[in-house]
Point group: C2
Chain length 219, copies 2
Protein backbone atom coordinates (compact mmCIF):
# COMPACT_ATOMS: atom_id res chain seq x y z
CA UNK A 1 0.00 0.00 0.00
CA UNK A 2 3.05 2.24 0.00
CA UNK A 3 2.57 2.87 -3.69
CA UNK A 4 1.11 6.32 -3.25
CA UNK A 5 3.86 7.16 -0.82
CA UNK A 6 6.50 6.15 -3.36
CA UNK A 7 4.70 8.15 -6.02
CA UNK A 8 4.65 11.20 -3.80
CA UNK A 9 8.34 10.71 -3.03
CA UNK A 10 9.16 10.47 -6.71
CA UNK A 11 7.11 13.52 -7.50
CA UNK A 12 8.87 15.49 -4.82
CA UNK A 13 12.23 14.28 -6.05
CA UNK A 14 11.52 15.58 -9.54
CA UNK A 15 10.23 18.87 -8.15
CA UNK A 16 13.45 19.17 -6.14
CA UNK A 17 15.42 18.37 -9.28
CA UNK A 18 13.70 21.20 -11.10
CA UNK A 19 14.47 23.63 -8.30
CA UNK A 20 18.07 22.44 -8.08
CA UNK A 21 18.57 22.91 -11.80
CA UNK A 22 16.82 26.28 -11.70
CA UNK A 23 18.98 27.44 -8.80
CA UNK A 24 22.26 26.37 -10.37
CA UNK A 25 21.46 28.18 -13.59
CA UNK A 26 20.00 31.14 -11.81
CA UNK A 27 22.76 31.92 -9.29
CA UNK A 28 25.29 32.00 -12.12
CA UNK A 29 23.28 33.53 -14.95
CA UNK A 30 20.45 35.43 -13.22
CA UNK A 31 16.71 35.17 -13.46
CA UNK A 32 16.39 36.81 -16.86
CA UNK A 33 18.70 34.37 -18.61
CA UNK A 34 17.24 31.17 -17.23
CA UNK A 35 14.59 29.66 -19.48
CA UNK A 36 12.23 26.77 -18.92
CA UNK A 37 13.89 25.03 -21.83
CA UNK A 38 17.34 25.25 -20.22
CA UNK A 39 16.02 23.91 -16.94
CA UNK A 40 14.30 21.11 -18.82
CA UNK A 41 17.47 20.26 -20.70
CA UNK A 42 19.43 20.06 -17.48
CA UNK A 43 17.03 17.61 -15.84
CA UNK A 44 16.66 15.73 -19.13
CA UNK A 45 12.92 16.28 -19.34
CA UNK A 46 10.88 18.03 -21.95
CA UNK A 47 9.96 21.67 -21.25
CA UNK A 48 6.30 20.77 -20.99
CA UNK A 49 6.97 18.27 -18.19
CA UNK A 50 7.92 21.10 -15.85
CA UNK A 51 4.39 22.43 -16.01
CA UNK A 52 3.23 19.27 -14.32
CA UNK A 53 5.15 20.41 -11.24
CA UNK A 54 5.02 24.21 -11.32
CA UNK A 55 2.19 26.21 -12.85
CA UNK A 56 4.55 28.87 -14.23
CA UNK A 57 8.16 29.96 -14.39
CA UNK A 58 7.47 32.62 -11.79
CA UNK A 59 6.38 29.98 -9.32
CA UNK A 60 9.75 28.27 -9.63
CA UNK A 61 11.49 31.47 -8.71
CA UNK A 62 8.94 32.17 -6.05
CA UNK A 63 10.13 28.94 -4.44
CA UNK A 64 13.72 30.03 -5.00
CA UNK A 65 13.04 33.34 -3.29
CA UNK A 66 11.90 31.38 -0.28
CA UNK A 67 15.30 29.69 -0.28
CA UNK A 68 16.86 33.12 -0.45
CA UNK A 69 15.05 34.33 2.65
CA UNK A 70 16.08 31.20 4.50
CA UNK A 71 19.66 31.80 3.39
CA UNK A 72 19.58 35.44 4.49
CA UNK A 73 18.27 34.60 7.92
CA UNK A 74 20.24 31.46 8.70
CA UNK A 75 23.56 33.06 7.75
CA UNK A 76 22.70 35.91 10.10
CA UNK A 77 24.84 36.84 13.03
CA UNK A 78 24.98 33.87 15.45
CA UNK A 79 23.47 35.71 18.42
CA UNK A 80 26.86 37.29 19.10
CA UNK A 81 25.64 39.99 21.42
CA UNK A 82 28.81 41.80 22.31
CA UNK A 83 29.49 44.48 24.82
CA UNK A 84 28.83 47.33 22.41
CA UNK A 85 25.09 47.58 21.64
CA UNK A 86 25.70 50.00 18.76
CA UNK A 87 28.06 47.53 17.17
CA UNK A 88 25.33 44.89 17.51
CA UNK A 89 22.94 47.18 15.68
CA UNK A 90 25.49 47.88 13.00
CA UNK A 91 26.21 44.21 12.40
CA UNK A 92 22.52 43.37 12.23
CA UNK A 93 22.00 45.54 9.17
CA UNK A 94 25.42 45.24 7.63
CA UNK A 95 24.60 41.59 7.14
CA UNK A 96 21.78 42.64 4.83
CA UNK A 97 24.18 44.65 2.70
CA UNK A 98 26.74 41.83 2.66
CA UNK A 99 24.04 39.44 1.52
CA UNK A 100 23.33 41.67 -1.46
CA UNK A 101 26.99 41.26 -2.41
CA UNK A 102 27.46 37.54 -1.76
CA UNK A 103 24.12 36.50 -3.23
CA UNK A 104 23.22 39.25 -5.70
CA UNK A 105 20.84 37.11 -7.72
CA UNK A 106 18.91 35.97 -4.69
CA UNK A 107 18.80 39.54 -3.44
CA UNK A 108 17.46 40.79 -6.76
CA UNK A 109 14.81 38.12 -6.74
CA UNK A 110 13.77 38.84 -3.18
CA UNK A 111 13.85 42.63 -3.16
CA UNK A 112 14.23 44.02 -6.65
CA UNK A 113 12.59 41.99 -9.35
CA UNK A 114 9.33 43.54 -10.46
CA UNK A 115 8.27 40.54 -12.49
CA UNK A 116 7.74 38.55 -9.31
CA UNK A 117 5.63 41.00 -7.30
CA UNK A 118 3.65 38.20 -5.72
CA UNK A 119 6.46 38.00 -3.20
CA UNK A 120 5.34 41.18 -1.51
CA UNK A 121 1.69 40.19 -1.61
CA UNK A 122 2.57 36.95 0.09
CA UNK A 123 5.14 38.18 2.58
CA UNK A 124 3.40 36.23 5.28
CA UNK A 125 3.45 33.03 3.25
CA UNK A 126 7.06 32.92 4.36
CA UNK A 127 6.32 32.37 8.01
CA UNK A 128 9.93 32.85 8.93
CA UNK A 129 10.04 36.32 7.40
CA UNK A 130 7.68 37.46 10.12
CA UNK A 131 9.58 35.45 12.71
CA UNK A 132 12.87 36.91 11.63
CA UNK A 133 11.55 40.43 11.61
CA UNK A 134 10.26 39.87 15.10
CA UNK A 135 13.65 38.50 16.07
CA UNK A 136 15.40 41.59 14.75
CA UNK A 137 12.94 43.91 16.46
CA UNK A 138 13.64 42.12 19.74
CA UNK A 139 17.38 42.55 19.25
CA UNK A 140 16.87 46.22 18.44
CA UNK A 141 14.78 46.59 21.57
CA UNK A 142 17.55 44.92 23.54
CA UNK A 143 20.25 47.13 22.04
CA UNK A 144 18.09 50.16 22.80
CA UNK A 145 17.75 49.18 26.43
CA UNK A 146 21.48 48.67 26.61
CA UNK A 147 21.90 52.30 25.63
CA UNK A 148 22.41 52.20 21.87
CA UNK A 149 19.42 54.44 21.24
CA UNK A 150 17.40 56.91 23.31
CA UNK A 151 14.92 55.34 25.68
CA UNK A 152 11.49 55.05 24.04
CA UNK A 153 12.73 54.73 20.48
CA UNK A 154 10.20 52.45 18.73
CA UNK A 155 12.15 49.37 17.57
CA UNK A 156 9.84 48.81 14.64
CA UNK A 157 10.71 52.23 13.25
CA UNK A 158 14.40 51.56 13.77
CA UNK A 159 14.01 48.32 11.86
CA UNK A 160 12.33 49.95 8.88
CA UNK A 161 14.61 52.98 8.73
CA UNK A 162 17.91 51.12 8.95
CA UNK A 163 16.75 48.49 6.51
CA UNK A 164 15.70 51.22 4.09
CA UNK A 165 19.07 52.94 4.42
CA UNK A 166 21.16 49.86 3.66
CA UNK A 167 18.65 48.80 1.02
CA UNK A 168 19.32 52.06 -0.79
CA UNK A 169 23.04 51.45 -0.85
CA UNK A 170 22.65 47.79 -1.76
CA UNK A 171 20.37 48.50 -4.72
CA UNK A 172 22.46 51.39 -6.02
CA UNK A 173 25.47 49.07 -6.09
CA UNK A 174 23.62 46.06 -7.43
CA UNK A 175 21.88 48.00 -10.19
CA UNK A 176 25.20 49.51 -11.17
CA UNK A 177 24.06 53.03 -10.45
CA UNK A 178 27.06 54.23 -8.46
CA UNK A 179 29.16 57.06 -9.78
CA UNK A 180 32.01 55.76 -12.01
CA UNK A 181 34.70 55.41 -9.36
CA UNK A 182 32.49 55.23 -6.31
CA UNK A 183 33.09 52.73 -3.50
CA UNK A 184 29.82 50.95 -2.79
CA UNK A 185 30.96 49.60 0.57
CA UNK A 186 31.94 53.06 1.75
CA UNK A 187 28.59 54.46 0.67
CA UNK A 188 26.74 51.71 2.53
CA UNK A 189 28.88 52.20 5.61
CA UNK A 190 28.44 55.98 5.75
CA UNK A 191 24.72 55.78 5.06
CA UNK A 192 24.16 53.18 7.77
CA UNK A 193 26.33 55.12 10.20
CA UNK A 194 24.45 58.33 9.46
CA UNK A 195 21.09 56.65 9.98
CA UNK A 196 22.21 55.13 13.28
CA UNK A 197 23.50 58.48 14.45
CA UNK A 198 20.21 60.08 13.40
CA UNK A 199 18.33 57.58 15.52
CA UNK A 200 20.73 58.18 18.40
CA UNK A 201 19.90 61.86 18.08
CA UNK A 202 16.24 60.93 18.57
CA UNK A 203 14.90 61.10 15.02
CA UNK A 204 12.49 58.22 15.68
CA UNK A 205 11.11 59.95 18.73
CA UNK A 206 9.84 62.94 16.77
CA UNK A 207 8.38 61.00 13.87
CA UNK A 208 7.83 57.27 14.05
CA UNK A 209 6.10 54.69 11.91
CA UNK A 210 2.92 52.87 12.76
CA UNK A 211 3.83 49.21 13.07
CA UNK A 212 1.33 48.34 10.32
CA UNK A 213 0.57 44.64 10.32
CA UNK A 214 2.47 42.96 13.11
CA UNK A 215 0.57 39.89 14.25
CA UNK A 216 3.26 38.97 16.77
CA UNK A 217 2.62 42.00 18.89
CA UNK A 218 -0.91 42.50 20.16
CA UNK A 219 -0.66 45.30 22.66
Amino acid sequence: MGVKERHDREREAVARGILDAARELFVTHGYQHVSIRKIAERIEYSPAAIYGYFPSKDDIFFALAEEGFRLLFTTGSPVSEGTDPIEDLRRLFWHYYEFSKTHPEYFALMFLDRSVPRISRDWDRFGFVGEMKHDMVVRIQDATERGALPRGTPPHTVFRVLLTAVHGAATLRLCDRLAPGEDGDALARVTLETAIQGLRAGAALNCSLSPCIDPDNEE
Copy 2:
Protein backbone atom coordinates in the same frame (compact mmCIF):
# COMPACT_ATOMS: atom_id res chain seq x y z
CA MET B 1 20.43 72.12 -52.45
CA GLY B 2 18.21 71.86 -49.41
CA VAL B 3 17.54 68.24 -50.24
CA LYS B 4 19.90 66.83 -47.68
CA GLU B 5 18.50 69.19 -45.07
CA ARG B 6 14.97 68.00 -45.76
CA HIS B 7 16.17 64.41 -45.64
CA ASP B 8 17.78 65.00 -42.29
CA ARG B 9 14.61 66.69 -41.03
CA GLU B 10 12.52 63.76 -42.18
CA ARG B 11 14.87 61.27 -40.58
CA GLU B 12 14.76 63.15 -37.33
CA ALA B 13 10.96 63.30 -37.50
CA VAL B 14 10.73 59.54 -37.82
CA ALA B 15 13.24 59.05 -35.02
CA ARG B 16 11.13 61.36 -32.85
CA GLY B 17 8.05 59.39 -33.83
CA ILE B 18 9.69 56.20 -32.66
CA LEU B 19 10.65 57.77 -29.34
CA ASP B 20 7.16 59.25 -28.92
CA ALA B 21 5.53 55.89 -29.56
CA ALA B 22 8.02 54.14 -27.30
CA ARG B 23 7.42 56.65 -24.51
CA GLU B 24 3.65 56.44 -24.69
CA LEU B 25 3.70 52.66 -24.52
CA PHE B 26 6.43 52.62 -21.93
CA VAL B 27 5.04 55.07 -19.38
CA THR B 28 1.81 53.10 -19.26
CA HIS B 29 3.05 49.52 -19.65
CA GLY B 30 6.69 49.63 -18.55
CA TYR B 31 9.87 48.71 -20.31
CA GLN B 32 9.38 44.95 -20.12
CA HIS B 33 6.05 44.95 -21.91
CA VAL B 34 6.98 47.25 -24.76
CA SER B 35 8.19 45.39 -27.83
CA ILE B 36 9.75 46.63 -31.03
CA ARG B 37 6.80 45.16 -32.87
CA LYS B 38 4.30 47.22 -30.85
CA ILE B 39 6.28 50.40 -31.39
CA ALA B 40 6.43 49.60 -35.10
CA GLU B 41 2.69 49.01 -35.23
CA ARG B 42 2.01 52.34 -33.57
CA ILE B 43 4.08 54.32 -36.06
CA GLU B 44 2.76 52.16 -38.92
CA TYR B 45 6.19 50.94 -39.95
CA SER B 46 7.58 47.45 -40.10
CA PRO B 47 9.61 46.30 -37.07
CA ALA B 48 12.77 46.14 -39.15
CA ALA B 49 12.47 49.81 -40.12
CA ILE B 50 13.20 50.85 -36.54
CA TYR B 51 16.66 49.37 -36.81
CA GLY B 52 17.46 51.99 -39.39
CA TYR B 53 17.13 54.60 -36.68
CA PHE B 54 18.21 52.84 -33.48
CA PRO B 55 20.74 50.01 -33.33
CA SER B 56 18.82 48.16 -30.61
CA LYS B 57 15.83 48.31 -28.35
CA ASP B 58 18.07 49.27 -25.45
CA ASP B 59 19.23 52.35 -27.32
CA ILE B 60 15.64 53.56 -27.61
CA PHE B 61 15.24 53.34 -23.87
CA PHE B 62 18.66 54.80 -23.35
CA ALA B 63 17.34 57.88 -25.14
CA LEU B 64 14.19 57.72 -23.04
CA ALA B 65 16.27 57.59 -19.87
CA GLU B 66 17.88 60.81 -21.00
CA GLU B 67 14.41 62.33 -21.18
CA GLY B 68 13.81 61.04 -17.68
CA PHE B 69 16.86 62.79 -16.28
CA ARG B 70 15.85 66.00 -17.97
CA LEU B 71 12.38 65.62 -16.49
CA LEU B 72 13.75 64.96 -13.01
CA PHE B 73 15.98 68.00 -13.08
CA THR B 74 13.71 70.51 -14.80
CA THR B 75 10.79 69.75 -12.49
CA GLY B 76 13.13 70.36 -9.58
CA SER B 77 12.54 73.01 -6.97
CA PRO B 78 12.55 76.44 -8.67
CA VAL B 79 15.41 77.86 -6.62
CA SER B 80 13.01 78.55 -3.77
CA GLU B 81 15.62 79.06 -1.09
CA GLY B 82 13.52 79.78 1.94
CA THR B 83 14.49 80.95 5.36
CA ASP B 84 14.88 77.43 6.75
CA PRO B 85 18.02 75.79 5.34
CA ILE B 86 17.00 72.36 6.68
CA GLU B 87 13.69 72.63 4.86
CA ASP B 88 15.63 73.44 1.69
CA LEU B 89 17.67 70.29 2.18
CA ARG B 90 14.57 68.25 2.82
CA ARG B 91 12.81 69.52 -0.29
CA LEU B 92 15.87 68.88 -2.44
CA PHE B 93 15.75 65.15 -1.81
CA TRP B 94 12.02 64.74 -1.31
CA HIS B 95 11.72 65.74 -4.94
CA TYR B 96 13.66 62.60 -5.86
CA TYR B 97 11.21 60.44 -3.96
CA GLU B 98 8.22 62.24 -5.45
CA PHE B 99 9.65 61.67 -8.90
CA SER B 100 9.73 57.93 -8.24
CA LYS B 101 5.99 58.15 -7.56
CA THR B 102 4.90 60.46 -10.37
CA HIS B 103 7.11 58.84 -13.01
CA PRO B 104 7.69 55.29 -11.80
CA GLU B 105 8.59 53.89 -15.22
CA TYR B 106 11.14 56.60 -15.88
CA PHE B 107 12.56 56.08 -12.42
CA ALA B 108 12.86 52.34 -12.95
CA LEU B 109 14.61 52.90 -16.24
CA MET B 110 17.00 55.45 -14.78
CA PHE B 111 17.86 53.82 -11.49
CA LEU B 112 16.58 50.26 -11.31
CA ASP B 113 16.57 48.42 -14.59
CA ARG B 114 19.47 46.00 -14.85
CA SER B 115 18.93 45.28 -18.52
CA VAL B 116 20.12 48.78 -19.42
CA PRO B 117 23.36 48.95 -17.44
CA ARG B 118 25.01 51.16 -20.03
CA ILE B 119 23.33 54.05 -18.24
CA SER B 120 25.72 53.84 -15.34
CA ARG B 121 28.74 53.34 -17.58
CA ASP B 122 27.79 56.47 -19.46
CA TRP B 123 26.68 58.69 -16.58
CA ASP B 124 28.73 61.49 -18.03
CA ARG B 125 27.18 61.11 -21.46
CA PHE B 126 24.31 62.98 -19.85
CA GLY B 127 26.18 66.22 -19.38
CA PHE B 128 23.39 67.67 -17.31
CA VAL B 129 23.59 64.84 -14.79
CA GLY B 130 26.99 66.13 -13.77
CA GLU B 131 25.73 69.71 -13.92
CA MET B 132 22.74 68.91 -11.81
CA LYS B 133 24.78 67.02 -9.24
CA HIS B 134 27.10 70.01 -9.03
CA ASP B 135 24.06 72.23 -8.63
CA MET B 136 22.76 70.14 -5.76
CA VAL B 137 26.16 70.04 -4.09
CA VAL B 138 26.30 73.82 -4.27
CA ARG B 139 22.87 74.10 -2.68
CA ILE B 140 23.90 71.66 0.03
CA GLN B 141 27.01 73.73 0.64
CA ASP B 142 24.84 76.82 0.88
CA ALA B 143 22.40 75.18 3.29
CA THR B 144 25.35 74.00 5.37
CA GLU B 145 26.77 77.51 5.62
CA ARG B 146 23.34 78.76 6.62
CA GLY B 147 23.45 76.41 9.59
CA ALA B 148 21.62 73.30 8.40
CA LEU B 149 24.61 71.07 9.02
CA PRO B 150 27.76 71.31 11.13
CA ARG B 151 30.51 73.45 9.67
CA GLY B 152 32.92 71.36 7.59
CA THR B 153 30.42 68.71 6.57
CA PRO B 154 31.50 67.60 3.07
CA PRO B 155 28.60 68.41 0.73
CA HIS B 156 29.46 65.56 -1.60
CA THR B 157 28.99 63.07 1.22
CA VAL B 158 25.70 64.68 2.17
CA PHE B 159 24.58 64.36 -1.43
CA ARG B 160 25.38 60.65 -1.64
CA VAL B 161 24.00 59.74 1.78
CA LEU B 162 20.67 61.53 1.47
CA LEU B 163 20.20 60.29 -2.07
CA THR B 164 20.89 56.74 -0.91
CA ALA B 165 18.41 57.07 1.92
CA VAL B 166 15.51 58.27 -0.23
CA HIS B 167 16.55 55.85 -2.96
CA GLY B 168 16.06 53.00 -0.51
CA ALA B 169 12.54 54.11 0.33
CA ALA B 170 11.69 54.83 -3.31
CA THR B 171 12.82 51.41 -4.53
CA LEU B 172 11.15 49.52 -1.70
CA ARG B 173 7.88 51.17 -2.61
CA LEU B 174 8.32 50.92 -6.36
CA CYS B 175 9.32 47.25 -6.24
CA ASP B 176 6.32 46.54 -4.06
CA ARG B 177 8.44 45.33 -1.17
CA LEU B 178 6.77 47.26 1.63
CA ALA B 179 5.07 45.37 4.42
CA PRO B 180 1.39 44.70 3.57
CA GLY B 181 -0.14 47.80 5.16
CA GLU B 182 2.93 49.99 5.21
CA ASP B 183 2.84 53.66 4.22
CA GLY B 184 5.61 54.27 1.70
CA ASP B 185 5.50 58.04 2.10
CA ALA B 186 5.88 57.78 5.86
CA LEU B 187 8.83 55.44 5.47
CA ALA B 188 10.52 57.81 3.04
CA ARG B 189 9.85 60.77 5.30
CA VAL B 190 11.18 59.13 8.44
CA THR B 191 14.23 57.74 6.68
CA LEU B 192 15.11 61.08 5.14
CA GLU B 193 14.51 62.86 8.45
CA THR B 194 16.69 60.37 10.27
CA ALA B 195 19.49 60.76 7.76
CA ILE B 196 19.35 64.54 7.97
CA GLN B 197 19.41 64.40 11.74
CA GLY B 198 22.36 62.00 11.56
CA LEU B 199 24.24 64.48 9.42
CA ARG B 200 23.28 67.29 11.81
CA ALA B 201 24.80 65.18 14.55
CA GLY B 202 28.03 65.16 12.57
CA ALA B 203 27.99 61.70 11.03
CA ALA B 204 29.70 62.95 7.87
CA LEU B 205 32.49 64.50 9.90
CA ASN B 206 33.63 61.18 11.36
CA CYS B 207 33.39 59.18 8.15
CA SER B 208 33.06 60.82 4.77
CA LEU B 209 33.22 59.72 1.15
CA SER B 210 35.96 60.48 -1.32
CA PRO B 211 34.37 62.61 -4.01
CA CYS B 212 35.36 60.00 -6.65
CA ILE B 213 35.16 61.49 -10.13
CA ASP B 214 34.09 65.11 -9.93
CA PRO B 215 35.47 67.05 -12.88
CA ASP B 216 33.76 70.28 -11.84
CA ASN B 217 35.83 70.66 -8.72
CA GLU B 218 39.57 70.78 -9.16
CA GLU B 219 40.87 71.89 -5.82
